[in-house]
């Protein structure tokens, strides 16, 4: 236990505390600026980290990473602009609440959920990291195939609006995921001979366009048509009943987030989606979801923060970066002369525990910062759309540019902005499209890898314990609603016949 306590000693050194604060503040700002992601920010800051101690540097970079998770919620709720794939789900209910003038409630619940999710995940990480790290290795292509399938199925069930429209949007998303040079045969697919499309489309320009720009274009139009009722922003904090209502969602979201976050690749997205789906399914009033249910924010926000924390497990205990941001932190460690690998905990215990324990402090700092900032940020909604819209567009375009330093991506934002506007006009929700896009590439590559491993025999999915279990779960989720209706009509029928008699 002593290395753990030594870790705390490392954290409370004034320099480390300061850099932790700097990290979470930068992270929060980065999260708030749509498009500009933590990976790009950390890459920009890499040279600065050279001059400071390894532990201090990583504490700061980790702060940026989980701080951005907090900040990302703010734009999702207020402006309907998810900065990362894992906060797309938050938009459903978060923005609906903001529309009802309850932006404060939404942000407050999200901050509390994020804090609880993050903190629970750190405790779990400290206790079981070495044990669960191996769990990530049991997830091969077949398991990811099943997870992605399950995820796509959830996409169709969670979104608001009609099921048919959600499925159409999801299908378009899957199609968009096929753009780019095929990773198995190097054949060009829908690239129109453009090198910029060779690696496929990126999440950021699609999300920024469909959600952000599309929404802005739409509101500009409606403003001309009818008097836009000014959004009333009451600085309401979540009430006791809100908290009571979302406590279960926070607990379940934390567990789902922690478990799925350990998996390299797509963990956080699946976590937020699964947490939301579970709440909607459990709820006695599922029709509230998508129209401002507090659980609809609490669950995915808790889950994505817990996932952000547990995604450190593969990096710190196996030396395997789980996502783009982790890859840059991995690079930062290398620059510092520390090679992340299975022996990091034994060779550099002060680094391992210093970073892990700094996350407690970071989460507390973020919660404290959130309290005054929520009040400040909700005022954004009071800004006139004529001023807010152009600023949002500008920041969005800059953010999209920074992902790949590519002007082409700016063009993509504009293209998807127009598409988003048309979708909104025709009553399509962009959520399923974006989520299916993210899961689509995971599904395709995992499925094809699996079939290579099984030598073309799809029966192989059932021979592996985890993928087999996931397949059964998939069937259950797919067939349960149908089974339920059958059961209901059967039980309802005799009663009806009795009444008629």
């Amino acid at each position: 236990m002593s290395p753990v306590l030594d870790g705390f000693a490392v954290v409370v050194e004034p320099t480390n505390l300061l850099y932790c604060l700097v990290g979470v503040v930068i992270g929060m700002l980065v999260g708030v600026l749509p498009g500009l992601g933590p990976a790009a920010t950390i890459a920009i800051l890499l040279p600065i980290t050279l001059g400071i101690e390894p532990v201090t540097a990583i504490i700061m970079l980790a702060g940026i990473f989980y701080g951005a998770q907090y900040g990302g919620t703010i734009t999702s709720v207020l402006l309907r602009l998810p900065g990362e794939a894992s906060s797309v789900v938050t938009v459903f209910d978060g923005h609906a609440l903001a529309r009802q003038g309850k932006a404060g409630t939404a942000l407050g619940i999200a901050a509390i959920g994020s804090f609880v999710g993050g903190t629970l995940a750190i405790i779990a990480l400290s206790v079981v990291a070495p044990l669960v790290a191996e769990f990530a290795l049991d997830f091969g292509p077949p398991e990811y195939t099943m997870l992605a399938l399950l995820g796509i199925l959830l996409v169709a069930t969670v979104s608001g609006g009609g099921m048919l429209k959600a499925l159409i949007a999801a299908a378009v998303g899957l199609l968009l995921a096929t753009v780019g040079r095929d990773g198995f045969t190097s054949a060009e697919r829908f690239t129109f001979d453009s090198l910029s499309l060779a690696d496929g489309l990126d999440f950021v320009p699609i999300a920024m366009g469909l959600f952000g720009l599309g929404e802005i274009l739409y509101t500009l139009e409606t403003r001309h048509r009818a008097a836009h009722s000014p959004t009333t922003v009451a600085n309401v904090w979540p009430s006791r009943s809100d908290l009571r209502q979302s406590s279960g969602a926070i607990g379940r979201g934390g567990v789902i987030g922690f478990v799925l976050g350990i998996l390299p690749g797509g963990g956080a997205v699946l976590a937020s989606l699964a947490a939301y789906a579970v709440e909607k399914r459990r709820s006695r009033t599922p029709e509230r979801f998508g129209h401002g249910a507090v659980e609809g924010i609490a669950a995915p926000e808790t889950a994505n923060n817990a996932a952000a924390t547990s995604s450190f497990i593969p990096l710190l205990s196996l030396g395997l970066p789980a996502n783009a941001t982790m890859a840059v932190i991995f690079g930062a460690l290398l620059i510092q002369g520390v090679t992340p690998g299975p022996q990091l905990v034994t060779e550099n215990p002060e680094l391992f525990w210093g970073v892990v324990n700094s996350m407690y402090i970071g989460n507390i700092l973020l919660l404290i910062m959130s309290i005054p900032l929520v009040g400040l940020f909700v005022r954004i909604l009071r800004v006139r759309p004529t001023i807010l819209a152009p600023i949002t567009v500008l920041i969005t375009l800059i953010g999209a540019y920074t992902v790949n330093n590519s002007v082409f991506d700016i063009g993509l934002v504009v293209f998807f902005g127009v598409l988003g506007y048309l979708m909104k006009k025709l009553g399509f929700d962009p959520g399923p499209l974006v989520l299916a896009f993210v899961l689509g590439s995971l599904l395709e590559s995992s499925l094809r890898r699996s079939l290579l491993l099984f030598e073309g025999d799809p029966g192989g999915f059932l021979t592996r314990p985890i993928s087999g279990t996931l397949f059964v779960l998939f069937l259950a989720v797919a067939l349960l609603p149908a089974a339920r209706t059958v059961w209901r009509t059967r039980t309802a029928d005799p009663r009806r016949s009795e009444e008629s008699v």
Binding site: A39, A40, I42, A43, L46, P47, L50, A136, L137, D138, F139, G140, P141, R181, G183, F184, T185, S186, A187, L195, S196, A198, D199, P264, G265, P314, L318, G319, L320, P321, A324, A327, V328, I329, F330, G331, A332, L334, I335, G337, T339, P340, G341, P342, Q343, N404, N405, S406, S445, R449, L452, L453, E455
Partner: protein, 335 residues
């Protein structure tokens, strides 16, 4: 509030006018200096394009070299990531950049001598369309086996007499080429399973999803040290100093020297003086202790040769690989 704003605006207007008046004068001066000689190079910050994502080996190499080279040039060398198509996106941008030495690129060898084997001719990047400033270093591949497979040597694989699955870091990469060549020479029935980069491939070997994989030394080393994976052979020409106890594929009897190589490259037509000046700056970087430490830590073998020598190496590699691929009828796109 309003008056203060107006004052500011007025000063701003004055400043703009002053700048406009001053500009033509400035332009003239710059032109004069430019026509005299190239000693004014560099007159502003230098951009070093990297065609890979931040955090990877190529990106880190660029950052490690950029700092000391910039110190010698007395200008900042900024690393800008333009990821896409194994660097082809960045290479295209470099080709269109002004050939004045202020835009450079960290070019990966695989783009010049392996990718052309996998993609159509018009997409392939030709290194002869660029000016090579200097070679940097070479990165070797090591064939590692999952403990579940039980393989300790290449002979074990051959003797196992079964079809094996090998992980690659992607189609048309050195990882793919090295194993495709090895297994076709060893007459082992093997299926390539491409992953998206080094880390996922390593994960697959660790988890026993694939039997073996070819991974860059620096990436595999921590796992080898921890005993999580077994090294079989390296694909180096001679044993890398970092893994002196592991045989090379050539020693094991297979003709498959495959390496990743990296170089600094400028647009075609960059003046010779500028290229020379840059080469001197990177030469200073190679003497920098921190840069050398970086190479050691990442298990990179210095290959700090001049432009002409590097061109010879890379065009030679392309010829060799093309011949080998034809001889063993390997389809680098797909399997």
């Amino acid at each position: 509030m309003h008056t203060r704003l107006r004052v500011h605006r007025r000063t701003a207007t004055v400043a703009v006018i002053a700048a406009v008046i001053a500009l033509p004068g400035c332009g003239g001066n710059v032109g004069d200096e430019g026509s005299k000689d190239q000693t004014s190079f560099p007159d502003r910050a230098i951009t070093l394009l990297v065609g890979q994502d931040p955090g990877g080996s190529t990106d880190l190499t660029a950052r490690a070299a950029a700092k000391p080279a910039g110190a010698d040039l007395d200008e900042t060398v900024t690393v800008v990531n333009k990821p896409g198509a194994n660097g082809a996106v960045a290479a295209k941008e470099l080709a269109g950049a002004k050939a004045d030495g202020h835009t450079l690129m960290l070019f990966v060898g695989s783009l010049a001598y392996i990718t052309p084997l996998a993609v159509s001719a018009d997409e392939a990047v030709d290194i002869n369309d660029y000016e090579v400033v200097t070679g940097l270093s070479q990165d070797d591949y090591v064939l590692v086996a999952s403990p579940k497979s039980g393989f300790k040597t290449v002979k074990d694989i051959v003797d196992a007499d079964r079809s094996i699955k090998y992980g690659t870091t992607g189609v048309g990469t050195g990882s793919h080429l090295s194993q495709a060549l090895l297994f076709s020479q060893a007459k082992v029935k093997a299926t390539a399973v491409p992953f998206d980069g080094g880390a996922p491939t390593l994960t697959a070997v660790l988890g026993g999803q694939v039997d073996v994989a070819s991974i860059q030394l620096g990436e595999a080393q921590p796992q080898i040290k921890a005993g999580k994976i077994t090294p079989l052979v390296t694909f180096a020409e001679k044993r890398p100093t970092y893994m002196a106890d592991i045989p090379t594929a050539v020693e094991a009897g297979y003709d498959v020297p495959v390496q990743q190589s990296r170089a600094v490259v400028a647009p075609k037509g960059t003046p010779k003086e500028v290229v020379d000046r840059l080469r001197t700056a990177f030469g200073k970087a190679f003497e920098d202790k921190k840069y050398q430490d970086f190479n050691t830590q990442r298990l990179l073998t210095p290959n700090e040769v001049e432009g002409a020598e590097l061109l010879k190496q890379w065009t030679g590699s392309l010829k060799t690989y093309r011949a080998l691929v034809d001889k063993y009828r390997i389809d680098m796109s797909g399997n």
